[in-house]
Symmetry: C2
Subunit: 212 residues, 2 copies
């Protein structure tokens, strides 16, 4: 199927569809309809139908999609089939946690190495090296790395970001709770856990207030 | 200052302001204007001005805000001053990483313990215990826990979510890439790393295509 441009909001929903499809037991019907998925996920039927039509042409009226085919189409669309090599800068607790997290492989992300200003000699996390940051440029060029993950403290994030771009990196996953300035051809995806915590904490405060 | 209801989009921006304010060197001017912040963060001046007025009444025409006061007002508004106790269910790699991540303390989050179906005896991560999931109910009641973090595989997430709600938990931070069904008074904040990766990977694919 030809690749279409899709909006960020579609991209946000596709992984949920995929996760849901994978939870259906193998002995269930091999077909699934957009309606059934919409009901299971508590989403609008029209939206689910439109989203699925964007990524798969396997849907048949009154029958739906072949489940395995749809899983494959969504995975392929999301790029989970193509492995992306990435580096990570900032081997503190969060950085080391991400470096050692095996769950990313299922989404096609392969973190090759972490860089830090002051790594302990020969330190590795699950076999992945932590390397002095001076060697980042040569490492990225040699390995043709296009994705970088930033897990340094906020005050160093822009500096690391600039350095990544100079290394040829085109997509940045930013875990520092700070805005990064980048040229137009570079994508920054912010993973702002501080925001999530603020939303949760705000909700709890409102609930506690209500009780009083 | 009286607490006002604010939108999620304001809540998303506040941590960036806070992070930026904290990066300003101590020997800089003690005052900061909304204009200066907007420029530094690459955001609209009107928006920054409105956001700050929502959380602080310390702004003065032509002078701006006293920096330290503004930091305090935003922190207080975001609830970073009140520590929230949380439990985490699913002590796999991601769960243990979050359990051991000390950075959350700055945002008022204190993870008391992790629960797992099959924890190794007496296992702790940075002094925090991993406890058999059977003891979750009594633990939550004893410690009056209101926040739960889900780091189990997608297929178990709804079950864990239901159990958390039965334990009195009101706010759920969900790291499983799956939609959770909850009653209206419960807030679910999804941390969907799979989505972030899809967005990044999509950008890289588009860039590679352009080059060809």
């Amino acid at each position: 199927m030809e690749r279409k441009e899709v909006s960020k909001s579609v991209l946000k929903r596709l992984p949920s569809y995929l996760a849901y499809l994978k939870t259906i037991p193998e002995d269930a019907s091999p077909y699934i309809s957009a309606t059934a998925m919409a009901n299971a996920l508590g989403m609008g039927e029209v939206q689910v139908r439109k989203d699925l039509a964007l990524v798969s042409d396997g849907g048949r009226p009154k029958i739906g999609y072949l489940r395995e085919g749809l899983i494959e189409d969504i995975s392929q669309f999301l790029g989970y089939d193509n492995t992306t090599d990435a580096i990570l800068v900032g081997a503190g607790k969060l950085g080391q946690a991400l470096l050692g997290y095996s769950g990313f492989e299922a989404y096609g992300l392969n973190i090759l190495a972490a860089f830090d200003t002051n790594p302990k000699a020969d330190k590795t996390v699950d076999g992945k090296p932590i390397i002095p940051v001076e060697r980042m440029e040569s490492f990225c060029r040699t390995n043709k790395v296009l994705m970088g993950i930033i897990t340094v403290p906020s005050e160093h994030a822009q500096e690391v970001c600039d350095r990544m771009i100079a290394c040829g990196i085109k997509a940045i996953w930013n875990f520092a709770p700070v805005h990064l300035d980048v040229p137009g051809n570079i994508l920054v995806q912010n993973e702002n856990m501080a925001t999530s915590l603020a939303v949760l904490s705000m909700h709890l405060q409102a609930q506690i207030k209500e009780k009083k």
